[in-house]
Symmetry: C2
Subunit: 203 residues, 2 copies
């Protein structure tokens, strides 16, 4: 089928939400840990982490429009920092549950049953159960005026990962990490390795 822009806009709202949220494909689910200026911790599911650069090491992520209270965004703006933890497939149900609308005084860590883990370099708590933990400083906030979505660009301050998960060339062993992959709002997948290809050259 071929849907034009007008067809998409006239889709039933929930159908459009699932369809357009799915269309960016299957990707790794992360949990974003933050802490407010007064010490309230927060944890949220983020499925839109993207690579921005390796030197300096930069990552981007998308956060929803700050129309409703957005604890992750307000904590990042208050403290200038956050962390990203790859959601292990073994805990995908707990990760999904962090997306429920808990009030600000409830920490999603306790509410869903995930353990905190602290580092001296980032105030926000990491997710203990995650094998890939990234601490970031806010570098730049980009507001998208068309729908008030916010892009957060952060600089990686620290990476915490077992040495056994990284090979001598710097590749991460994602079969061993076993991340939860997510498509759209609710569909979870696992990743199976297919192949590693050589650097592509003009033939």
């Amino acid at each position: 089928m071929k849907l034009h822009k007008d067809d998409i806009l006239s889709l039933e709202k929930e159908y459009r939400r699932h369809f357009i949220n799915s269309i960016s494909g299957v990707k790794t689910a992360f949990l974003c840990g933050t802490i407010s200026a007064v010490g309230q911790t927060n944890l949220s599911l983020v499925s839109s982490v993207f690579h921005v650069g390796a030197n300096p090491p930069l990552l981007g992520m998308v956060v929803r429009p700050p129309l409703a209270p957005r604890h992750t965004l307000s904590n990042i703006m208050e403290t200038g920092e956050y962390n990203l933890n790859i959601l292990p497939l073994s805990h995908y149900k707990q990760g999904h549950q962090t997306a429920a609308r808990y009030p600000k005084e409830i920490s999603e860590f306790e509410a869903v049953g995930l353990a905190t883990s602290f580092s001296p370099h980032i105030k926000a708590p990491y997710v203990e159960e995650s094998s890939v933990k990234l601490g970031l400083h806010l570098l730049r906030r980009v507001d998208i005026p068309e729908n008030l979505t916010v892009l957060i660009i952060g600089e990686i301050q620290e990476v915490i990962i077992p040495e056994s998960l990284v090979d001598h060339e710097g590749h991460i062993d994602f079969e061993a990490v076993s991340p939860a992959l997510v498509a759209g709002l609710d569909s979870y997948f696992q990743a199976t390795a297919v192949n590693r290809l050589p650097y592509p050259k003009v033939r």
Copy 2:
């Protein structure tokens, strides 16, 4: 192991490239089709497509700094449009090969052996072999001054997808789509469905 920012910056260059490119996880590989003002087609591998909004339907993607010639970016700036095609796992080697540095007068479609497919609404050719084809108009270009990377925000103008791949709630059947997933620069994966979870509610 725990790597701080200074440790990351002092990693050997190729190791850091693989490591930091991998750290954003496994995600769906897309092929970005464009055409220049004088009609030269181009196809490039993009692994950083992200959801920006469902209404209007917006997608973002990252393109490398325009220091070397970047045909995708220059074509998007010339024509204001581009398309994104989910790379089928059956053709991941051809998709990877589009990342070789072909000169501007060579079309990656022919060079790697992928067929073009045209729509009256978007000038750039789609990838015939892809089952999920998205036509976009450039909405906004965001330059990241720290490393000159460019974020392209586009509005979806059309979606071309077999009706059999979308269920009655708008979910896309990604096991049937069978996208190539990629981590870092060279590691390919496939997706296996685990589960679909209900909308998370405070319990």
